[in-house]
Amino acid sequence: MTANLLTLIIFVPLVGALAVALFADERTVWPAAFIFSLLPLALSIYLLVAFNPHDNGYQFVERRPWIADFGVSYHVGVDGISLFLVPLAALLVSLTLLYASGGDIDRRPREFCFFVLMLETGLLGVLLAVDLFLFYVFWELTLIPIYFIIGIWGSQRRVYAAFKFILYTMLGSLLMLVALIYLVLHARGYLGAATFDLTDLYRVPLSHAQARWLFAALALGFAVKVPVWPLHSWLPDAYSEAPTAGSMLLGGAMFQMGVYGFLRFAIPLFPEVAREAAPLFMALGVVGIIYGALLALAQSDLKRLVAYASVSHVGFVVLGVFALDRFSVEGAVYQLITHGLSTTALFMAIGMIYLRRRTRAIGELGGLWRPAPMLGAILMVAMLSAVGLPGLDGFVGEFLVLLGAYFASWQAAALAVSGLILGVLYMLWAYERVMFGPLAKSADRGIADLAPREVAVIFPLIALMFFLGLYPRPLLRRIEPSVVAFLARAQAAPAPALSFDRAKPQEFAGLRVVP
């Protein structure tokens, strides 16, 4: 089983997607999809247990040739950076399906389950691919389902949001594709054969100008996805127009893709340029933190508030990654997990409010604590986790990021802290207006508190928030070796120019048949 573990994890959801699309009917579709989403979750929990924490390389590696003419192989593996993101993605998909079946998705359930499971395959593939071509295939594979999810099940302006999302992402990803091909063709002169295998492509000598352009193209693709300010404008629309289940996937399980791309590809492949660009990205991160927080303060719609809070929080992650310090990178990876949890929980809680009141406007809500104390408590925990209250998971990551960022640039750290203060302000202010005070409508007295099913959906998230906040060591211990390896690559000296003739013509795709 361990031999094909990662392949199973990646492709079981796809099999589930096809099975659901072809065989399920309206009644069986939700349980079938849910069970199919539990399989990768169970497998990835086994992965956590079987993972060797002392090894800093890829584990559970599978590698076999795929399209030999292009130098493409099927190469997957997991290391400390991706280790926890895999079960997180699987868990969030399962919870999303469970949540969505409770009334959030009220039409075309079969198509919805098909797209969610297809998305899961894409997500897990992105996290586990070690071959650049394979990575790109999965990267694009995530695009189609979420486009449909926003477009079909979203609210009023869903078409606009879906178009904005797909155009932004395609702009980044197609230039990234060009850069990847260029890199591989260039590397061919040194390696003797075209290969998209990431492990072969580290430290291929590049001229400074080449490295700059390539880094810029990759960074654009990833920065759009994160999103790094000022490329964030698709995010509030996509997050707020998507159905709750879609927002949970976007905000909880998909935002990691961009940051992960920086950690896995853009920075290790072009370390010198990444070091040069680091101050710029740290600055953009800080701008994102403050900009997102200020806009979150001004929002009147709960979902948009969380969307802008996300812009602010991913600013922390970007700051942490580009501070290129051990603490900050560990903190950033940790935040990938915790921010996923808290954003998902927030969207879920807002969705629960919406199901009861059919509005997300802060001004039309009030006093919900009295009829629904459990809902209020859950929203409180999710918000406190998001703003980084000690004892909850968000604190660990933010603290580590700030600590590391302080070593890199104390000015950046000082400015970033203001984001924390603003975060407490916008979250608690919104909480006060929604939960306390007089009831906005007398009919609200009758709204129901959480149903058992809703408790079951949100309980795993709350439990994880406490666990990760109080006992982060098991995770950090496994993340650390890979972060050290990442930093060793990122801090590496320029690769020496090789002495042999780099202009040696090499045959590529199809040329080998020629006399």
């Binding site: 399209i67 030999a68 003419d69 292009f70 790109y136 295939v137 694009e140 594979l141 695009l143 189609i144 486009y147 449909f148 477009g151 079909i152 869903r158 078409v159 879906a162 178009f163 797909i166 155009l167 395609m170 702009l171 197609l174 230039l175 594709l177 060009v178 091909i181 260029y182 063709l185 013509p505 590529f508 795709a509 199809g510 040329l511 080998r512 048949v513 020629v514 006399p515």
Partner: protein, 501 residues
């Protein structure tokens, strides 16, 4: 097996032209049978046409691996030819499947329709196999004249007549250019044989002569019309929109593939010595064709018209590959055509299925709510749009990847960046079709009862679009082998010239 027996029974010199000969004989049979049967039995004629084309594809497939010039070098039979014989025969057969419903529904004259379809196919095949300039001209004209008439065959629809007339006038005009170019090249080099012309142009003095350059320019214009490259594309949208939908499919896929088959062989295989001259011109053509095609497609509400501009845009991507020249580029273009053909045929098949008799032409609004009423049709259309968009793991993605790689390898970085940006633009109009089907509500529409032929065509297109993309290995092998066999036969020095830039 069957084709082997047939092949053995015939004189060896016939073997290379077996596929077009089978098609031509079928055309005659259709005319004979059709005159006896009368109009009501159009489906029988359709199946007769289909079997002729299937047999031709089989013959072409059996000829893979044989290399021989035929008829004193007028035709070249190699794997390249076999590849295009197969592709063209399959495309034409798919068009027949699309027509089975359509011809009786629109009351088109079935005998003429199928006979013209077959004669167009013969022209396409000749064009793909052409070894001299006269055969290029003959193939192009046999194909074009048949398609002009087919475009105008819905006599009751004024737009069909308009399409035919426009296509004819501009096509005739472009033929003039092509013929003039042929004359000039002949005058300069003293031969109509591509092989001999290629040899003559080895001398740099001749290659730089104004006669040759003018001839080359004229031929570029002539082919530019046929592949609908900007600025020679003006006929395309009207002709595509007005022609009966299966004919549009034939124009977008068959005509385009055949024209590129001739164009590619002429430039990449026989005129690499002039790459310095035509490379720059193709660069500009490619950039213009992609950009104009994609930008204008954004504004289209009629799906056929949108697909016309999308076809222009795809011609642009193919021209990017041709600009690059070289072995990888040739193979990439062949692979690209394969993926492009099935996605487009599929899209047109969906249009045939949803088109209403009383109101031909499908707007985006007509597709509204298709996902609800016809989930399978909508899913298929979405798949084809995603492949044309170039999303993995579909055939269109690997095609784009291959073409981009070849062009980057040849050093055309900015052209590829432009192509990538164009692909971003194209996302919008392909996605609009998906939105129309899945998001917008539409009036309940009654579709014609679908005959099995159309469903078969759809199934083939779906399967090909997925399989060619998910496991591209055999098809890459096929495209690379086909191109290498053409280039290898041409001259041994070709290879060195390919790698020189």
């Amino acid at each position: 097996m069957i084709s082997g027996t047939i092949g053995a029974a015939l004189d060896a010199s016939w073997r290379p032209v077996l596929a077009p000969a089978v098609v031509a004989i079928t055309a005659m049979a259709v005319m004979l049978v059709g005159s006896r049967l009368g109009e009501e039995d159009s489906e029988g004629l359709g199946w007769l046409t289909f079997s002729g084309l299937a047999l031709a594809a089989l013959c072409a497939f059996a000829a893979v691996g044989r290399h021989a010039p035929a008829f004193a070098g007028a035709l070249i039979v190699d794997d390249y030819t076999a590849f295009f014989y197969c592709l063209i025969a399959v495309c034409a057969a798919m068009v027949v499947l699309l027509s089975l419903d359509y011809v009786p529904a629109l009351e088109l004259p079935s005998t003429e329709y199928y006979a013209l379809l077959l004669s167009a196919t013969v022209g396409m095949m000749l064009l793909a196999a052409a070894g001299d300039l006269i055969i290029i001209f003959l193939g192009l004209e046999t194909m074009s004249i048949s398609v002009y008439v087919m475009a105008a065959i819905a006599r009751r629809d004024p737009r069909s007549s308009e399409a035919g007339l426009k296509y004819f006038l501009l096509g005739a005009f472009s033929t003039g250019f092509l013929l003039y170019g042929i004359a000039l090249l002949y005058g300069a080099t003293g031969s109509i044989k591509l092989e001999a012309i290629s040899r003559a142009l080895q001398s740099s003095a001749l290659a730089a002569s104004p006669l040759v350059l003018l001839g080359l320019a004229m031929m570029l214009i002539g082919f530019g019309f046929k592949v609908a490259a900007v600025p020679f594309h003006a006929w395309t949208p009207d002709a595509y929109e007005g022609a009966p939908t299966p004919v549009t499919a034939l124009m977008a896929v068959g005509v385009k593939s055949a024209a590129f088959a001739g164009f590619l062989r002429l430039l990449l295989v026989y005129l690499p010595a002039l790459h310095a001259q035509w490379g720059g011109a193709l660069w500009v053509l490619a950039a213009l064709t992609m950009s104009v095609g994609n930008l204008v497609a954004l504004a289209q509400n009629n799906v056929k018209r949108m697909l016309a501009y999308s076809a222009i845009a795809h011609a642009g991507y193919i021209l990017v590959g041709m600009t690059a020249a070289g072995g990888a580029a040739g193979a990439a273009v062949l692979y690209y055509l394969l993926g492009y053909a099935f996605a487009n045929l599929g899209a047109f098949a969906v249009l045939v299925a949803v088109e209403r008799v009383e109101q031909p032409g499908t707007t985006l609004a007509d597709l509204g709510g298709l996902a609800k009423g016809q989930p399978m049709l909508a899913a298929a259309m979405a798949l084809f749009m995603l492949s044309l968009m170039g999303l993995p793991p579909l055939a269109g993605f690997v095609g784009k990847f291959y073409v981009f790689s070849a062009a980057l390898q040849a050093g055309y970085v900015w052209l590829v960046v432009l192509a990538a940006l164009n692909s971003v633009i194209s996302t919008y109009y392909y996605a609009r079709v998906i939105v129309a089907m899945y998001v917008n509500e539409g009036a309940e529409r009654k579709l014609r009862a679908r005959r099995p032929g159309l469903s078969v065509a759809l199934a083939v297109a779906i399967a090909a679009t997925i399989i060619i993309g998910v496991d591209p290995r055999p098809y890459v092998e096929m495209a690379a082998g086909a191109y290498a066999s053409a280039a290898g036969i041409a001259r041994s020095g070709v290879r060195a010239a390919f790698l020189a830039h």
